[in-house]
Amino acid sequence: MASDTLTHEPNTDHNTDNGDWQGGKEPFKASYGKLMIWYFLLSDAFTFAGFLIAYGTLRFSVATWPVPDFVFSTFPGGFHHKPLLFVTLMTFVLLASSYTMVRAVQEGKQENKNGVVKWLLLTIIGGLGFLSCQAWEWTNLLTKENMTIFNNPFGTHTENGVYLMGDGHDIKEGDSFTAGQTYLIPYHDGEYKPLQYKVTDGPDKDAVKEQIMGPKAFGGLFFFITGFHGFHVSIGIFLLVLVCVNAASGLYVKRRNGYEMIEKIGLYWHFVDLVWVFVFLFFYLL
């Protein structure tokens, strides 16, 4: 009967001032908005898990994979051979912005408007810093090292050998290498110029071979997954600017719910950091 659904349950004090939830008692004693952002994040976690698992599966399906300590070893200012230094810096920038977000939420609970705005501004700066780092990393990979989503010049040796020619930077004629070492195929005049080498042991001893391109999936996976994460960071910065302006204007003071909107955006921002923990693990550490 229709009249059954209209019987009013006594309102709990949680939702008397909130028009969003009109189904009686609130589930899990949390507001509608907070629950929904949690379930959105859960679904988003599945999306990222799908991508990262695809990365793992493809990595296991080929014989060699570029070694991250070699691929990610440049640092702004012309430094080379600094394995993982730059990405560690990026991780710390994002972690720091996560901390400032926690502080903003805590100031919100105290209804301290100036505190919220101050910590939100610091969070925005952290987010922009992270995006700038990523922009530099991408530019370096795309323009200096010429890795694109279609071509991956980072190959890995499968046998020991000696180079028969140099690339003019790191590799000189006569340099030896061992199986498992990753190389970067030089690129000039619009094409990749693989170096020739002589195999020094194994069944193909004394054969002259050429460097081959690395697994193609690496470039696509790298740019797609870090790009998708960077896209999340960009959306996060947009939302942070939005709530920062709203908080500064005094909008959330009127709502008298302990700046709950800051808490919700905070959940999203921490999630972005959470995903980076795993992107960092899969791409750079393992």
Binding site: P27, F28, K29, A30, L35, W38, L42, A45, F46, A49, I53, A54, G56, T57, L58, R59, F60, S61, V62, A63, V67, D69, P83, L84, T88, T91, F92, L95, A96, S98, Y99, M101, V102, R103, Q106, K109, Q110, E263, G266, L267, H270, F271, D273, L274, V277, F278, F280, L281, Y284, L285, L286
Partner: protein, 120 residues
């Protein structure tokens, strides 16, 4: 959240960020030391290194969810609705890594096909 005072929650946040930073540094040091970058000739087995880093990252994820995202202070039933679906991903990971190994075998047999002779 409401059960923790402002000062106490500030202390928890400070502690959590320090632990997160420390774990990140440890992870990077393991990754570099295990491949012989820090001490010449020192190498850790790849499997063990990977396992340690996965466990450390999972712990980092737990800290972010439970402390920064305040999951610890929500109702247990709600925590379960988030944790159980996420935990099911573990099987997804194991299954697809095994699948990746199978793809590898398939690729190898395409490159070096097993020649079968037909005897008349």
């Amino acid at each position: 959240m409401s059960s923790v005072s402002y000062e106490a929650s500030k202390g928890i946040a400070n502690k959590t960020i320090l632990i997160l930073g420390a774990i990140t540094i440890i992870e990077v040091l393991i990754a570099l030391a295990g491949k012989g970058y820090l001490i010449d000739g020192l190498h850790f087995p790849h499997m063990i290194m990977g396992l340690v880093m996965v466990i450390l990252s999972a712990y980092k994820a737990r800290l972010i969810m439970f402390e920064f995202m305040h999951l610890k202070y929500e109702l247990p039933a709600f925590v379960k609705t988030v944790i159980i679906p996420t935990a099911l991903l573990i099987w997804f990971i194991i299954a697809l890594i095994v699948e990746g190994g199978y793809y590898f075998g398939s690729r190898q047999s395409v490159k070096n096909p097993v020649k079968t002779e037909i005897k008349k």
